[in-house]
Subunit: 409 residues, 2 copies
């Protein structure tokens, strides 16, 4: 197989995770070592939008310290985007523009770091470039705190978010125990269609400070059952800690919290406020003092509580993507296969992009308890390896040090 | 001065901080070394309620590991309470009960760890015991994340909360920068009457990722001015990060957020929801996408981001309280005096309890900018020493280890 030498283009897309920049680190480190294949590593600003706008960061211009700090920087250091490409058979404007840019910069390797929507983008570009016969190798790098990508044991970003949620839940639980007559505390956790993040709150129970009830989007939500279950626990313990997914739906499949009626660029409903709604219900209908907590964007941005396992895996999926591309693999996403749970061992493999796009992996029934208000040991066995080890923040003068790449924007 | 030997009673009261248990550690360690004065260290469960109910934990029964872990345990490990004692001249029932308990257990040293309301409790007990001539030495140990106790440079608990707020604000800010067209993000921070906690968000600006606007309860809040200031920044940057105190009031002194109309045991209004109200205003009146974040109880419970300076000071106020009591000082609260800022040096002193009760220290004008929407360098010089150093959590299998004292409840 003849070697192909050219430039590598990398971009970030979709919602940030606290370790997506660790994947960028993995890509950059690996690509810079592959001199025989890669001339230059170029990064799109704001994902595919940067490619369309010819708005790039050249890795050779970055300070070494800023590259190292990617392992500790939350958010999308290179900018992200939610931009849906049309079907090129209907409108090829964007694709022609991309082809022009790829030729101009001799882009031969294209790595895109994102969730299901991003894999859709990736897959469409791969299809187009194959069809017009431009030689380029396209690999998707998974990331999402939601853990809802199929064909991979889990996704980089999930372990750190799970670790933040578990540890913060413990703190809220311990804090809640302060008073003899407590409240019902309802914590809202991200996860539009899958309960993986909300389930992570159960890890806190390993220490004795977990939620009493967990409501996942996989189980149809009944307000009446919820009130009954909360009242039962509160009457016994004078406290009740509830973890609830933002994405819970009633039996008819209507979000409990889609009050705003607003949709995002991908046509998804904007969620939020379900905990506050349920707290109001508890106070008014049950007459029990109640309050709500929303973790909000901190659960995907908490660089100060990172799982070292997650960070290392995020780096690995990045470097594996580079290796796959230079070996002329394409239209594939890097996936993780759990070869063994004890000892926890991950094999990195590749799976067709088209399969990964626009499908969501929900929690299997075997991980949800029979009452539909908690999780099983099978889930704990699955999740615990993912939160092991700490990637301690780099503090200076009491605050974290982040990569200063943003100053190039 | 004849030595007095007896038992020492310690309790926690008011809202938890992430380091109140470090003060308990300081009390216990110091008291156990003072064999000539202290026979036994006894802790009230749920503060003064434990004394009234004769519900105690005897420190000699605690495992060494549980005492050590107090330095890493959030919440009130021994239980807290909000219980207002009546004026003993009007109703001495509780005081007679306390006297009975103090005599029964030979309590000669009474240390109470709390905020302004707790110092009121402490002061009343001291008054009563002096009046009926029961020999007991009563010392208040300050704590509050709000930093609103007078006569002390700052309070234990504030430094860690400030560190959590600053670091989380940086993360939210970095996360927010991901998209090219951002939102107005409004973060609600605790602080009923004083802006100390909200001001701490400005520390994040030291790294370049701080809030654009800061609204404190010390400055009357105008919705019109707020809208103008937000629009100005958003139009320039396409992003705007706002830190707002839960306790902001309009020109007439009415809380922007006292929608529930509910008061707590001390007659204070329950606040919350101001960020969500302001986000709705921005979306509807300005037509700019906006979202709100509430830190909620995590800001006082985040044991995973503790300032080592704060933890060490919390331990010191505890040990100083013991030393003061055994040296027959009474009706006093331990206060911190900043002898020097460079190097940062704290002297521990004592101040009459009665002065400290029910008064609140607000931010001085010199720490607030002239526009009333930010802070000055004087505040940063004041706060930065308080967040220095990290008291790293004790992780085991990916989650924090807390003291298991709660299992005795």
């Amino acid at each position: 197989m003849a070697k192909l030498k050219g430039n590598l283009l990398y971009g970030q897309s979709g919602g940030p995770t606290s370790v997506i920049n660790a994947s960028a680190y993995g890509v950059i480190k690996e690509a810079m070592e592959q001199h025989e294949y890669v001339d230059e590593v170029i990064v799109m600003k704001h994902g595919i939008l940067g490619a369309l706008n010819e708005d790039f960061i050249f890795v050779k211009d970055l300070a070494k310290k800023d590259i190292e700090l990617l392992k500790h920087t939350p958010g999308s250091a290179f900018g992200s985007v939610r931009h849906k490409l049309p079907d090129f058979r209907e409108d090829d404007t964007s694709y022609l523009r991309l082809l022009y840019i790829f030729r101009k910069y001799n882009i031969r390797y294209f790595l895109y770091n994102g969730g299901n929507d991003s894999m859709d983008t990736c897959s469409k570009i791969a299809d187009y470039m194959r069809q017009i016969d431009y030689e380029i190798y396209i690999i998707g790098i998974p990331k999402t705190i939601d853990n809802d990508l199929p064909f991979t044991d889990h996704t980089p970003g999930y372990g750190s978010a799970a670790k933040f949620i578990a540890n913060t839940m413990m703190e809220i639980s311990y804090d809640m125990l302060a008073y003899p007559n407590g409240k019902v505390t309802i914590v809202e956790i991200m996860g539009r269609h899958a309960g993986w993040l909300t389930a992570a709150s159960a890890i806190a129970s390993e220490s004795g400070y977990g939620p009493d009830l967990i409501y996942l989007p996989e189980v149809p939500f009944s307000i009446d059952r919820f009130k009954k279950e909360v009242a039962e626990i509160y009457n016994k313990k004078k406290q009740c800690l509830v973890a609830v997914s933002e994405g819970i739906m009633n039996e008819e499949g209507i979000f409990i919290s889609s009050s705003s009626g607003l949709k995002d660029a991908f046509g998804h409903f904007q969620l939020g406020g379900v905990a506050s709604k349920l707290a109001t219900t508890v106070s008014s209908d049950l007459g029990i003092p109640s309050r709500s907590v929303e973790f909000g964007s901190t659960q995907r941005a908490a660089s100060h509580v990172q799982s070292l396992t997650d960070v290392n895996e995020a780096i690995s999926v990045g470097s594996h993507a580079v290796k796959a591309a230079i070996h002329k693999r394409s239209d594939l996403m890097v996936v993780m296969h759990r070869a063994s749970n004890e000892p926890y061992t991950i094999d990195y493999k590749l799976h067709p992009l088209a399969d990964c796009a626009n499908t969501e992996k929900r929690m299997p029934k075997a991980m949800i308890n029979s009452k539909g208000n908690g999780i099983t040991k099978q889930y704990l066995d699955y999740v615990l390896p993912l939160i092991q080890g700490e990637n301690l923040p780099v503090y200076k003068d009491g605050i974290q040090q982040f990569s200063t790449i943003r100053s190039l924007f």
